[in-house]
Amino acid sequence: MSLEYTSSEMMSVTAARALENGMTCFVGIGLPSEAANLARLTHAPEVVLIYESGTLQTKPDILPLSIGDGELCESALTTVAVPEMFRYWLQGGKVDVGFLGTAQIDRFANLNTTLIGDYKAPKVRLPGGGGAPEIATNAGEVFITLKHSKRAFVKDVDFVTTLGFGRDGKGRDNVPNIGKGPTRVITDLCVMKPDPETKELVVVSLHPGVTREEVIDATGWDIRFAEQLESTPEPSENELTILRELKARTERAHAGE
């Protein structure tokens, strides 16, 4: 049986499957939020979703447009002040996984959401760090999801807003009280994981129908593939139905306001 689905849906479903039931997840807005809520609505009903606006254990019916939508607060177990969120819950070590998006990522999974070009004379000014710099170091591990393109996947990011493994892959070595860092990167083409030794990202799984050449063409460095390259399992009918319903509900809600 073969279902019809888009590469974006493949990405969201694969990203959702990365979350295990019962995990505590600090969720970034956008694609990570879509994936985390899909996980909650499918295989991981007890996943605990936390957003930096202070909303703890939230169960939104529609995806938030902003990190502080009322829906997040209304469906949360409780809402705490933002300093408490970052100090007690994140820095205090209560978060298993940080789920992040990014504008740029490099071979050592460093993230850039600050700017393209030079800091003093930027070509493109991006929003900045937000919660990511501390989510990436204080969460137990980090999942990253974004669309695959040469503009996004660069050999070296223009600016390290948020630590992956540093510019030499050793940025977490001998640092006390720091999380494992990025353990997987989920794109619309494949899944990557850091090499256990060098920490350079390696493709471990190709999505159905995607070729190695497509991944090479969309990556700004000489990307390596795992010896045991896997094929990512296809989305199930249930996952696709729930994802589409979630997105349709979200669109209706945001168009009406």
Partner: protein, 272 residues
Amino acid sequence: MAEFLSLHDAVARYVQDGATVAMEGFTHLIPFAAGHEVIWQKKRDLTLIRMTPDIIYDQMIGAGCAKKVIFSWGGNPGVGSLHRLRDAVEKGWPCKIEILEHSHAAMACAFEAGAAGLPLAVFRGYIGSELPSVNDQIKFIECPFTGERLAAVPSVRPDVSIIHAQRADRQGNVLVEGIVGVQKEAVLAAKHSIVTVEEIVDDLNAHPNACVIPSWAISAVAVAEKGALPSYTHGYYGRSNRFYKEWDAIARDRDTFTQWLDENVYRKEEKR
């Protein structure tokens, strides 16, 4: 005790040219009415502090109120760029502005330290980030007990903080509900504070652990009905996601923005 003032009088009294101003509200309860009043009174050379500058600072920057912005995430949430902020940073329109950028954790801790009367905030942050290389207000210190290297930033101590809340009672005590962000910290960290509210009530009906800011910790309370729109006020009205999306096109172009400002802030305010 907080003084009940009109929004015009509160801003005129407490927001001076050149002041350091924090207008907080984490996506929720953003004090837009107060922001428009600051624009209308043509305040200049302000240092604007906000974790998420949002549309409110985009408008104030485009109107020429700011000389410096201290922030940690400068986008239009869920939509894209803040075009007026970018135009000021990249092209110096309508005036050059300086930016100082942090992470959310740093700013949240800095507000909290300001409220606690401390000169600095200490936290486990900025590890491996290059932000410290472009912001000289980020330093590292060694824990005197464990030797751990920790990040330090100066506390936030604004001349004036402005927030919006659901309601005040007749004594000027204020109740903040929903996503409370760093609003209480912002008020307590500042020399002066203005709180705009949806309404004045006889009794706040607050449960024992509610976020209540006592009247004696606030300089002025001003009624501003729908004062957070297009942001929202939990329990009163929803966020206008539509306006946030529309703002992208309005703010992208200097002329369109100027016309919007004219029609929606300058002329609208003149009619009152």
